[in-house]
Amino acid sequence: MSAPERNGGHDAWLDALADGEGYALVCPDGHGSLPPRRVCPECGADSLTAEPLAETGTVETRSVVHVAGPRFAADTPYVTAIADFGPVRLTGIVRGIDPAADAVAVGDRLTATVEERGGDGDSLVAFRPADDE
């Protein structure tokens, strides 16, 4: 893990998510956002504290991607989803399922972690079906 930091704040967030310690930045009014942030994007408050993500997220929408750019060609077809993890929603690729249109539905519960992209091994936010489903 000696790779140079590329995106300050974001890299550390990904590392935390990979360690099972994913978090969101939350302002005094309860608006959640993801780093790097200096102010709340909703209200401009500059006092942001890290709060843990919910252990599982609920799928709000999903798609099955069949045509992707070169960096994701090795992964197609794949399912992307946006899931609600409490203070924030996360966007990621759903792994551990058959990438078919009915494999993931709105309301399904997922866990979030960090896995490698197929083509080049770069990090990405990955979802997996929650065990309790």
């Binding site: 709000e60 991607v65 045509v67």
Partner: protein, 388 residues
């Protein structure tokens, strides 16, 4: 405040021009706009030029002075970039500049060159209009993002792929007589349904094509037109712009486009009209669902009702409010950085009566153009009216 007129419009053929440089495409559109306007080049005070991915497609940044040369004008020139709304904001700034009295004549428009790249690279290029850290790195493509919005819409309001296929069939039908359109063949609802998937629930005919092309408009003050005997019967009476959070996941609504609603409210207030006054619209249908969301944001249908607008005939060529008589991005094509200008060009032709589909809206007085950037993190709306 100075009244603003569209004195002339110019478009290239939209489609595949893999061997034509961007500068040649824009020069063609500008030449046609000057011919249409009857305005001499030396009267141009400023060039406002829209372009999105020229650095990727042609390894060319700093395009505005290059395009000033190509158009044969020598004046301050600025490139505007707002993803697929690049030309929309270029036109908007032309309107604001003329209104302010800073300029009498502005050449506004845009260009995009895309088909010289392989599809995979275009897909990756378009994706940079999304949030790189939190969307693109999570595998979100441009069609994939709109597919996420589609699933959210179906879940929230209902609707089906068949409803979306009606949007595709409508816009392909509208493009058949349009000499500038990339695809001039009719597509049936069944053909659209049977096409292969791109990002489910969206399939091939839900998506606009990859297009090369350019647009140019000669925007003038009403005083300039009168003083110089320039025939400019169409006025830009309203302009508005809106912004939303960049990433879909950060937005309050996954199945609404409040940036477009904000832009529409501002443009309507500017023009002192409401959605009921609109006779014809060109909207940003980069995907079929995008037209549905646009129709709702512009106030032509309630939330959840826009999905049926094409199916039920509200927005078809013989409907009460024809939408995308040009064929839209869907069938006319979507050279990203040129699209916002081409919408104003087509609306101007429709209102002037010299568009192949003008007879469909022979009595139209008020038109609206809706141009969106990315997944509508940006939106620009213009109101055009027949002034004389």
């Amino acid at each position: 405040m100075t009244d603003v007129r569209v004195a002339g419009v110019g478009l290239t053929q939209f489609g595949r021009h893999p061997d034509r440089t961007g500068r040649d495409l824009f020069a063609t559109a500008a030449l046609r706009a000057f011919e249409d306007a009857g305005v001499p080049r030396e009267d141009v005070d400023e060039l406002n030029y829209g372009n999105f991915m020229g650095a990727l497609a042609e390894h060319q940044g700093h395009q505005a002075p290059l395009m000033a040369e190509a158009a044969g004008v020598n004046c301050p020139s600025t490139r505007y970039e707002e993803a697929c709304a690049s030309a929309g904001v270029a036109v908007r700034e032309a309107v604001r500049t003329v209104r302010s009295g800073e300029a009498d004549v502005v050449l506004a428009g845009g260009m995009e060159r895309m088909t010289n790249l392989p599809t995979e690279e275009v897909t990756e290029g378009l994706a940079i209009a999304a949030d790189d850290l939190f969307e693109v790195r999570a595998g979100v493509t441009f069609p994939g993002a709109y597919a996420l919005m589609t699933t959210a819409y179906f879940d929230r309001y209902g609707g089906s792929r068949r409803d979306l296929a009606h949007v595709a069939a409508k816009n392909h039908a509208n493009a058949v007589p349009n000499e500038y359109a990339q695809y001039r063949e009719a597509v049936s609802v069944e053909e659209a349904l049977d096409a292969p998937p791109v990002a489910e629930p969206l399939h091939l005919y839900d998506a606009c094509p990859i297009t090369d092309g350019a647009s140019a408009l000669v925007i003038v003050s009403a005083e300039y037109a009168a003083d110089n005997d320039v025939d400019a019967p169409v006025a830009v009476t309203g302009t508005g712009q809106g912004t939303d959070r960049m990433a879909l996941a950060d937005r309050e609504f996954l199945a609404r486009t409040p940036a477009a609603a904000d832009a529409a409210a501002a443009a309507y207030a500017d023009a002192d009209i409401g959605p009921a006054d609109v006779d014809v619209a060109e909207v940003h249908d980069c995907f079929t669902i995008a037209e549905v969301l646009a129709v709702e944001a512009l106030g032509f249908a309630d939330h959840g009702e826009g999905i049926g607008a094409a199916r039920d005939g509200l927005t078809t060529a013989d409907g009460d409010l024809p939408v995308n008589l040009s064929g839209g991005l869907k069938a006319k094509g979507h050279p990203v950085g040129a699209t916002g200008g081409s919408q104003i060009a087509e609306l101007t032709r429709l209102l002037r009566g010299d568009h192949p589909n003008s007879e469909r809206v022979a009595d139209a007085e008020v038109g609206v153009a809706h141009n969106a950037g990315g997944t509508v993190a940006s939106a620009v709306v213009h109101v055009l009216e027949v002034a004389e």
